[in-house]
Each structure stands twice: as structure tokens, then as C-alpha cells.
């Protein structure tokens, strides 16, 4: 059963290929560092410090501008790990929350009353509570109740660490908004489209997958972009449950070195860059998905 969306496939296929390839590389790099602890290539001692170390060190000595993570290996490594954790957390949450959004929207329009109620309850719970409170709740209240795993140093640890809880909490939080965003897209698809597909013999899941979702997606990309941008920025809250992400590490560095200004500027530049990449990708996606004559 062919999808009705086949127009303009040349440029969009190329776009998907490059996005998928880039995502795979980023994911592989961070999965590697998370699983094996060490980065395959040491960017700090191998590239950053030889290139920028001299300049930044003398900048500190002459002008008092202390960008310490560009010349000191320990700080460099932990800053890089922090940024890596932020990117990895954002990546996991963007993917997971989008999947949750689609599944939730599907559940919302399903025939089963139970499914619809579960979806509604989920949205109420996760959309109507602050993400910081959720994280605290999961990490401090829920985590101790779950089974523990023995470690090699003799102390049983909870099943999930702070990173996992942050990923779960943020994915479900953003996912709740995504459900509503996808619903708004789905409801924008004219009823006649569904009827036409049903008349052609499509089953309900087929209608959803091949007709409603592709059209709905195009309607809701702008608000989806909004929510995902928000999600990436909200990853900083993981700081509160000790996830060593960028803000956490920056705070550790400025507490030790009293270079608050430099670290604040770093944070700004980093997040502006990170969100810019996400927005650029979403805009490219929007363009690649455009069907001439539909919508705009």
C-alpha cells in the first residue's frame, strides 16, 4: 500500500540520508564514551589544547580572562564530557519524546476507551507538573523504592542512575506536549481524507500511518520545533539531580576558579549553538517534507 506522500523525493531523500548519517555518528561517539568511559579520540590533549592552549593561557596571564577549559586538560575533559552529556541527553529525549508524541496521539484517537483514558491521564500528569518537580520526584522519591543492583564495590545501587531518570522525566514531559501537538496536526487533516482512504479499503492503522500522520506531521512541525527547542533548553534542569551536563560542569568550574563571567559566556554560546543546529535541522526537514499545493 503506497503512501500518498511521494512528491519531491529526490532532495528529501538526500536530506534524510545526511541527517541520519550525522545522527548516527554523534550517537555512536557518545554511546561509545558512555559505555566504555573513554572517547575513541582524545579531543582535548589531541586537538584543543595544542591549538588553543597557548593563546588562552596567555590571555589569562595578561588580561585575566580565564577560559580554563581550553588550556587545562582536566577542566577541558570535564567540560567536553559535560557538553557531550547535554548533547546525548538532548538526542535521547528528542527522539523518545517524538515517539511518545506519535504513540500518544494514536492512542488518543483510538477506538478503545481504556487507551484514550491512559493517554489523557498521562498528559494530565506530565504536562501539569513542573519538570524540575518531576525529576526530584523520580530521583528522590521513586528511585529508592525500585530494586537495586549490586556493584563491584560492594554497595547496591538503584536500577536507574540520575542520567536515566533525567532522560525518562524529560522525554515524558516533552512527550506530553508532543501528543497535543500531534493531535492538533491530526485534527487539521480534513475528515474527507480519512473517509476517502477508508473508502479505498484502508484499515484504521493504515489510515493513520499512511494518510493522517504524514499530513498531520507537516502541519505540526513548527510547533514541534518549538517544543523540542524548549526540551533541549530544559535539559539544564538535570543539574539539580546531579547529571554532569554542561551547566553542572560549568558550575563546578566556576566554583573552583571563580571565573563566573567566562563560564556564563560559554554556556550562552554553547546553548545558542546547540539550539541553532536543532532549529536548522527542523527547518530543513520542514522544507524537505513540503508538498507543493498542500498547506502553504
Amino acid at each position: 500500500m503506497a503512501s500518498i506522500v511521494t512528491a519531491d523525493s529526490g532532495s528529501s531523500n538526500r536530506f534524510y540520508f545526511w541527517i541520519a548519517a550525522a545522527a548516527l555518528v554523534v550517537f555512536a561517539y557518545f554511546a561509545w564514551t558512555k559505555l566504555f568511559g573513554l572517547a575513541p579520540v582524545n579531543i582535548c590533549t589531541g586537538a584543543i589544547i595544542p591549538l588553543l592552549g597557548g593563546i588562552t593561557r596567555s590571555l589569562n596571564e595578561t588580561a585575566g580572562i580565564n577560559i580554563i577549559y581550553l588550556y587545562e586538560p582536566f577542566e577541558c575533559q570535564r567540560m567536553l564530557n559535560g557538553m557531550g552529556t547535554t548533547i546525548y541527553l538532548s538526542f535521547v529525549c528528542v527522539i523518545a519524546s517524538t515517539i511518545i508524541g506519535v504513540l500518544g496521539a494514536w492512542a488518543q484517537m483510538s477506538n478503545s476507551k481504556i487507551l484514550r483514558n491512559i493517554a489523557a491521564g498521562y498528559i494530565q500528569f506530565f504536562r501539569n507538573t513542573p519538570p524540575l518537580v518531576q525529576m526530584y520526584f523520580f530521583f528522590f522519591a521513586l528511585s529508592p523504592l525500585l530494586p537495586r543492583i549490586m556493584t563491584d564495590y560492594g554497595v547496591a545501587r538503584p536500577m536507574f542512575d540520575s542520567f536515566t531518570w533525567a532522560a525518562i522525566s524529560l522525554s515524558f514531559f516533552a512527550g506530553a506536549f508532543n501528543v497535543e501537538i500531534f493531535r492538533s496536526g491530526i485534527e487539521a487533516v480534513p475528515r474527507t481524507m480519512t473517509e476517502a482512504a477508508e473508502a479505498l479499503g484502508y484499515t484504521r492503522p493504515q489510515v493513520f500511518r499512511n494518510v493522517v500522520l504524514p499530513l498531520a506531521l507537516r502541519v505540526c512541525i513548527p510547533s514541534l520545533t518549538n517544543n523540542l527547542v524548549n526540551l533541549v533548553k530544559t535539559t539544564t534542569l538535570a543539574f539539580a539531580i546531579s547529571v554532569p551536563e554542561t551547566l553542572f560542569v560549568a558550575n563546578q568550574i566556576w566554583s573552583d576558579r571563580v571565573n563566573v563571567f567566562e563560564m556564563m559566556v560559554t554556556l550562552f554560546v554553547f546553548y545558542i549553538g546547540l539550539v541553532a543546529v536543532l532549529v536548522w535541522m527542523m527547518e530543513r526537514w520542514e522544507k524537505a517534507m513540503r508538498i507543493p499545493g498542500y498547506g502553504r
Binding site: 582536566f74 570535564r78 564530557n81 530521583f139 528522590f140 528511585s143 529508592p144 537495586r148 564495590y153 560492594g154 554497595v155 547496591a156 545501587r157 538503584p158 542512575d161 540520575s162 539539580a240 539531580i241 546531579s242 554532569p244 553542572f248 560542569v249 558550575n251 563546578q252 566554583s255 573552583d256
Partner: protein, 270 residues
């Protein structure tokens, strides 16, 4: 004419400053007031805390009471926190500050820190007995809880654990994470951990307080106004502190409030 007024103003101001310095804070002034005003902590058990009636009690209030007794005046305690204790002294709101203040070079320039130092805080870890930690070297590869921004965090991570700390803003979060198993131990000021363990033995029965000897204790100093340091008042406090150490008064007070004696104080009292 305008300039004339300005100069008068400056001279007048300087005169006020000078007389202020000359009069306030001296022993005669305190005796004339009949009251010694001492700034202590009210939220740092067992050194300065509130009892059930709201009175400030603890080891440092006891020291302050002894000073008042020696001067033959009444005692008034003023609760201070780290961010206002030196200012209170500079403004003359308090005559003496005994407020768990660690000594460093910047503080020496701001207030008159009295030597000998009366106490010292080291670094310790409240650690799960199962983890078998005897020193900082045993922390390698283990998750450790800490307060965000504490001065020893960097060294713990770079020299000992080799991984990111499980750091939180406050003590309660760290306790919850420790009891919840997110880390093997909580690195913090040794005296507070000892007190915690003594005060709440049942809760911490599976945990030990292990001193991290790799970190040198940072001495605490009591302080008078900077200008008073070399006057009669400063000298009186220096002599009193030396006498407290020599006579074992501080050891007795520490035993009373903390339940045990710390190594630094035992050595300083010899």
C-alpha cells in the same frame, strides 16, 4: 566657599571615623556598656544552633559566655551567617565574632583574626561500611556525593574518584542520595558529619565517618575589628584563646558538644 564646605565635611567625617575607631571595641567600652555582643552561628550544630526555646546554644556560645564571665559583663548573642559576619564586626554591631570562620588571606585583610586559632575543620566522608573506604585513595571508581561548589570537589574528582561527583545543592539532597544508594559516601566538613552520625546514630548505623587525611584541616579563627587586633582587646582575646587551649577548656567543650575530640584540637592543646 564651596570647597571650604567640602573640606570641612571631609575633616568632620575623618574625625568621626577616628574617634569611632578609638572608642568602640575596647575593653573599657564593653565594660561601660555592661554587655558583650558576640556574633555566632545559629544554624551550624553543634557549634551554634537554636535549642527548643529559641536560644542560641552550642560550643561557640559557651566560649562567648566564658569571655563575658572573664570581663564581668552580660552576654548578648547575635546570629550571623557567612555572608554577614565580617560586616557585622566592621559595622560595630558585634564586639567579637566566633562564627566557625575558616582563616584565609582575604579575611585576614578584612577583620582582625586572633591567633592562636581555636579550631580547625577537616574533610571527611560519611561512607557506606560495605564500600570499605579507609582513605580518599579508596574512592577510585566510586560515585561520591558532595555539595555543589565545595572547595575540595575538584581534588576529590581529579585525584581520587576519577569520575563526575554526584553533587547537589544542599545537605538533605545529599543525604537522600546517599541513603538511596546513588553514591557510596558523602564528602563534607568532618565536624558536621561526626555530629550527624552521633546525633542520629540509628539512621547512619551502616555508615562510618572516615577522615580524609589527604586534605589538610583549615583552621578557624575568632575575630575582632581589624583596628582592634593589636589593641588591648585583641591581645586579651589572644591570651584567652591560648589559655583555653592550654587548660583543655576547648577539649572539654568539644567533648561536651561533639561527643568526641578531633585530632587537630588534641594536637593544638598539647
Amino acid at each position: 566657599m564651596k570647597h571650604g564646605f567640602k573640606i570641612f565635611g571631609v575633616i568632620g567625617f575623618a574625625a568621626c571615623m577616628l574617634t569611632g575607631i578609638a572608642v568602640a571595641g575596647t575593653i573599657e567600652d564593653i565594660k561601660k556598656k555592661g554587655t558583650l555582643v558576640v556574633g555566632t552561628k545559629a544554624d551550624y550544630p553543634p557549634y551554634g544552633m537554636l535549642d527548643s526555646t529559641g536560644k542560641i546554644v552550642g560550643m561557640e556560645p559557651d566560649m562567648a559566655a566564658d569571655v563575658a564571665k572573664r570581663l564581668g559583663v552580660k552576654l548578648e548573642l547575635v546570629p550571623t551567617v557567612a555572608s554577614n559576619r565580617m560586616q557585622f564586626l566592621q559595622q560595630g554591631k558585634i564586639d567579637l565574632m566566633i562564627s566557625t570562620m575558616s582563616v584565609n588571606d582575604e579575611r585576614k585583610k578584612a577583620v582582625g583574626i586572633i591567633e592562636p586559632y581555636y579550631y580547625a575543620g577537616g574533610v571527611a566522608i560519611l561512607v557506606n561500611k560495605a564500600a570499605n573506604v579507609k582513605s580518599a585513595a579508596d574512592l577510585k571508581g566510586k560515585p561520591v556525593c558532595a555539595i555543589q561548589g565545595a572547595f575540595y570537589n575538584n581534588r576529590i574528582q581529579s585525584e581520587f574518584t576519577g569520575q563526575d561527583l554526584v553533587a547537589f545543592k544542599g545537605v538533605p539532597e545529599n543525604e537522600a542520595a546517599l541513603l538511596g544508594g546513588q553514591c557510596v559516601g558523602f564528602v563534607y566538613d568532618d565536624v558536621l558529619l561526626i555530629y550527624k552520625k552521633t546525633a542520629d546514630g540509628e539512621k547512619w548505623k551502616d555508615y562510618d565517618v572516615v577522615a580524609l587525611k589527604e586534605f589538610d584541616p583549615v583552621p578557624w579563627g575568632l575575630a575582632v575589628k581589624l583596628e582592634d587586633k593589636d589593641t588591648e582587646w585583641g591581645k586579651f582575646m589572644a591570651a584567652t584563646t591560648a589559655e583555653w587551649l592550654k587548660s583543655g577548656t576547648l577539649l572539654a567543650l568539644e567533648k561536651k558538644w561533639l561527643g568526641q575530640n578531633t585530632e587537630w584540637l588534641i594536637n593544638a592543646s598539647k
